[in-house]
């Protein structure tokens, strides 16, 4: 039985549908304290005094910490994209001297009961001298005396950009903005720290995404050796880039558990989540394209401002860096220059959100392609075709770096996928129908966005696989699961490589005490990296099983096969077989039949790579606009995505559907807004509007496998970000078409108010 490539049911589901999951809030220990964080109510200010006396007097309060209590703990470091100059902008786990956004942790209360902790937090009196809030990343200000709000500028490029613009037939210039939104998983953050003095062991529960990196850094920050700190991932209620990064609260519960000698639990409430967990996306681009008379790109020059918020967190410069590296997308861009200004503002700090830097740069690039088409009187489809990198040019090297890798597109047939997508939606007929409807006065239109994604970030992944004497296959990985189906996918790959049923495979992830190294789950890396490490390890286990069984069945290993957990030789009369668990028994340390073999039916597998791989996709949107309300309805949407090889098409489709809904939120509804003093206005689900079942249409999905990655034997590429990438771009293009004003949409999200304003400015509508 082959499992890879089939939509087998998920192994994860049963506990989740029966209420037996274990999310962070479900973890409790006897004699536990509860933490509540006191947060700044000012966007920017100097801390004058913090009076904790009244709070301390409340029965049930065990301790209250301010910066002085944690002054010895260094700020939180960068996990990715460390760029010269960022260090002074890192966040300490409680605010030192200044507060820099509403929500900045100022004090931490530890109490017997969460209700009491909250009461006490209300009694902590924080006196702050308010300073002017800087809210626009395009404006430069002062982070602290002598230090500007611009720690670094990301510069990438190649070729002769000036020359390209000098010789251009036409130059197109746009000013574009993407709003501030974020992953907002349904489970808020949570962390439980526990110090076991008997074993001198510090544990944290509620870890996610990157447990090993967080272990190493918690250990370093608290002055411990990494092997004395264990992080444990339970069920995780959605990741999307934001969850699982190392935040101040994670370090606080660990430090407090050690210091106070009791387990400490912190569960974030939703208001806190919306002001304290990473935001993302907000950028403004001033972009220019030089084109020849046929609409071929000669060069792109992009200057942009990345609104980083109050501090630079674990992602360092990742988002603006990816935006610069991935902006050229599927097109031949002979000359290119990007300058991304990282700017601190007095808003919630930012990190990654699904398709970081690409949702933004795809919006910018595809707006640009539409503008080129409009300027030259060509169709958007035609302009894109003229600029595609051809399949024959693969692998295609783009002379830029990102995430420590050179950008080399490994494989892709962009024109081919566009054809499939256009056929899938019936583009030509659609154009006719839309024209007819517009003739009757309806505001309807269609648009598209095309993109290259990236996935499978290395540099390594390792797994340990062992078969026990009951026949259960255990795969221990340093990867993590944020709910996307890791266990099933890894089990499928292991099952095929070993020759067992995938339901016999248990995948252990996110437990730093089970495996020393791991990179976790981000950048759509798990299926590719952990998948390949699993295939390698399972192959070794298989070889070991065959070697042992060959001796027992008195034949050569080459005559044997393993299927459904049974090692078999031949057929008919010559047939002999034994169960894989029996082979495992023969390999026990005490077994006499083991001979000189290493004990245990087990092996490790490692996969290393210097390059990412590059899946790609096409999004097509059909929308209607209500001229009275400015409301946009997405009538149809199609995602075509080439994944190289789908391990589980049902799960790939699930990733695309979910990503699309998030992209839709960012295109039309979701935005973190602030008033002029920097007071956040989007602090509940009534103000931060995520799409519901009403707003998300049933979309068409085409999953193609035309361009397997040559960088791993199964040809895998990642699925996580293809659903979200071009939703904003395609919807913007479709709205332009609906109102028949090319280039009308320059900003996401296209809220009803904004679209009304555009229509009003056009007059008449």
């Amino acid at each position: 039985m082959v499992f890879v490539g089939r939509s087998v049911p998920r192994l994860e589901d049963r506990p989740l549908v029966t209420g037996r999951g274990r999310f962070a809030a479900d973890v409790s220990f006897p004699h536990m304290l509860h933490m509540r964080v006191v947060r700044s109510v000012f966007a920017h200010g100097r801390i004058v005094a913090i009076d904790t006396a009244a709070a301390r007097a409340l029965p049930g309060v065990a301790a209250i910490w301010t910066f002085d209590d944690i002054a010895h703990i260094p700020p939180i470091d960068f996990r990715l994209t460390r760029v010269e100059g960022l260090e002074p902008y890192r966040q300490t786990i409680l605010a030192r001297e200044r507060v820099r956004y509403v929500g900045d942790p100022v004090a931490a209360v530890f109490a017997e009961d969460p209700y009491v902790a909250e009461d006490a937090a209300d009694l902590v009196a924080v006196e702050i001298e308010e300073l002017p809030a800087l809210l626009d990343a395009a404006a430069l200000g002062e982070f602290e005396p002598g230090r500007a709000t611009e720690p670094a500028v990301i510069r990438k490029g190649y070729g002769d950009v000036e020359g390209a613009f000098r010789s251009a037939h036409a130059v197109i210039e746009l000013d574009l903005a993407v709003g501030r939104h974020s992953g907002v998983p349904m489970e808020t953050r949570g962390a439980i720290g526990r110090y076991d003095a008997a074993r001198d062991l510090l544990e944290m529960y509620g870890a996610a995404k990157v447990p090993h990196w967080n272990r190493d850094n918690i250990a370093r920050m608290l002055g411990r050796d990494p092997s004395t700190v264990h992080l444990h991932e339970g069920h995780v209620g959605g990741g999307f880039g934001i969850r699982g990064e190392l935040y101040p609260e994670d370090v606080l519960v660990c430090a407090a558990a050690v210091k106070l000698g009791r387990p400490v639990k912190w569960i974030e409430d939703r208001r806190e989540h919306l002001i304290a967990a990473n935001h993302s996306r907000q950028q403004r681009h001033r972009v220019r394209a030089a084109v020849d008379a046929q609409g071929r790109l000669l060069g792109i020059d992009d200057e942009y401002f990345h609104d980083q918020g109050g501090y630079v967190r674990t992602h360092g410069a990742t988002v603006p860096d990816l935006a610069a590296a991935m902006l050229p997308g599927p097109y031949r861009v002979p000359n290119y220059r990007a300058a991304g200004h990282i700017r601190l503002t007095n808003k919630t700090p930012c990190g990654t959100y699904r398709a970081p830097g690409r949702y933004e740069s795809t919006f910018v690039r595809e707006r640009l392609m539409d503008a080129v088409a409009a300027r030259l009187g060509l169709s958007g489809v035609e302009v894109r075709r003229r600029n595609f990198i051809a399949m024959s040019e693969m692998p295609y090297e783009r002379p830029v770096d990102t995430l420590g890798t050179h950008v080399v597109y490994d494989s892709g047939d962009y024109a081919g996928l566009l054809d499939k997508a256009l056929a899938g939606i019936g583009w030509d007929n659609l154009q006719e129908r839309l024209r007819a409807r517009r003739a009757k006065g309806e505001l309807v239109g269609a648009g598209l966005g095309i993109f290259v994604e990236k996935s499978g970030l290395g540099p390594f992944d390792g797994v340990k696989i062992s078969v026990d004497t009951g026949g259960t296959v255990e795969v221990v990985t340093g990867a993590a699961s944020v709910g996307q189906g890791v266990e099933t996918v890894i089990a499928q790959i292991c099952a095929d490589a070993l020759g067992v049923d995938y339901r016999r495979v248990r995948v252990v992830h996110g437990q730093t005490d089970r495996i020393a190294f791991g990179l976790g789950a981000f950048a759509s890396r798990v299926t590719v990296m952990t998948g390949e490490a699993t295939r390698i390890a399972a192959g070794r286990v298989r070889a070991k099983a065959l070697d042992m069984a060959a001796e027992l069945l008195q034949c050569s290993a080459a005559e044997l096969d393993i299927q459904d957990g049974e090692v078999r030789r031949g057929s008919g009369l010559l047939r002999a077989s034994m169960r894989i668990e029996d082979v495992a028994r023969h390999l026990l340390p005490s077994s006499r039949t083991r001979g000189q073999r290493e004990p245990g039916l087990s092996a490790e597998g490692w996969f290393f790579t210097d390059h990412m791989n590059y899946p790609y996709g096409v999004h097509i949107a059909q929308v209607s606009v209500d001229a009275d309300t400015g409301g946009v309805t997405v009538e149809r949407f199609l995602v075509a995505y080439d994944i190289g090889k789908a391990v589980n098409p049902m799960l790939v489709q699930g990733q695309i559907l979910g990503g699309f809904a998030q992209g839709l939120g960012g295109a039309l509804f979701e935005e973190f807004l602030y008033d002029e003093r920097g007071e956040p206005l989007s602090v509940t689900f009534a103000d931060y509007l995520m799409p519901t079942a009403r707003e998300v249409p049933d979309i068409a999905v085409i999953i193609s496998e035309d361009a397997p990655s040559p960088r791993n034997p199964l040809g895998l590429k990642g699925a996580g970000e293809g659903g979200v990438n071009a939703v904003g771009a395609a919807i913007a293009s479709a709205i332009d078409d609906a109102i028949q004003v090319p280039g009308a949409i320059t900003q996401l999200p296209v809220t009803p108010q904004r679209l009304r304003a555009i229509l009003r400015a056009l007059g008449g509508l």
Partner: protein, 159 residues
């Protein structure tokens, strides 16, 4: 803090005699005092529906109700949906149609759908969509949730 009040809750047929502060929410009582952590908290302000349980058969947001208000009432949570090892048709349908990813919102959707389908087995697709749009999911994009609930509704009607 105020005086504690005596409350009797029946959760999935089991009685719990609790002493709670009047301000204690029903969801906290179910999770922390009755130990039934399958009911989740996503917002505590009545929008996401992750905390949906059935109170006397009606879907209720248990973050918006105080435990004292549920005194003497019959509460059903996701832990009570299956009949022993036999999953409820909704639970099976969610698995078959990939109606969950992280599964955090799932108990709320299951209880919402269970409550509605028990009361209104012949609910139209359109009305069902309205009902389901009262809960939030961040992973699935809803399509598979809708398919799962429709499939379960059909199966429950056929019985």
């Amino acid at each position: 803090m105020s005086e504690k009040a005596a409350v009797r809750l029946s959760v999935n047929g089991q009685d719990y005699a609790l002493e709670v502060e009047p301000r204690r929410t029903l969801v906290d009582a179910i999770r922390e005092d009755c130990g039934q952590t399958g009911t989740h908290i996503g917002c505590e302000h009545g929008v996401c529906g992750a905390c949906t349980v059935l109170v006397d058969g009606e879907p209720v947001r248990s973050c918006l109700m105080f435990a004292v208000q549920a005194d003497g009432k019959a509460i059903r949570t996701v832990e009570g949906l299956a009949d022993g090892d036999n999953l409820h048709p909704l639970q099976r349908a969610f698995m078959e149609h990939h109606g969950l990813q992280c599964g955090f919102c799932t108990p709320g959707f299951l209880m919402l759908a269970a409550g509605v389908l028990e009361r209104e087995p012949d609910i139209s697709d359109e009305d069902l969509l309205d009902v389901l749009s009262s809960n939030l999911c961040r992973c699935t994009g809803y399509q598979n949730i809708i398919k799962a609930v429709r499939a379960a509704a059909a199966e429950m009607r056929a019985r």
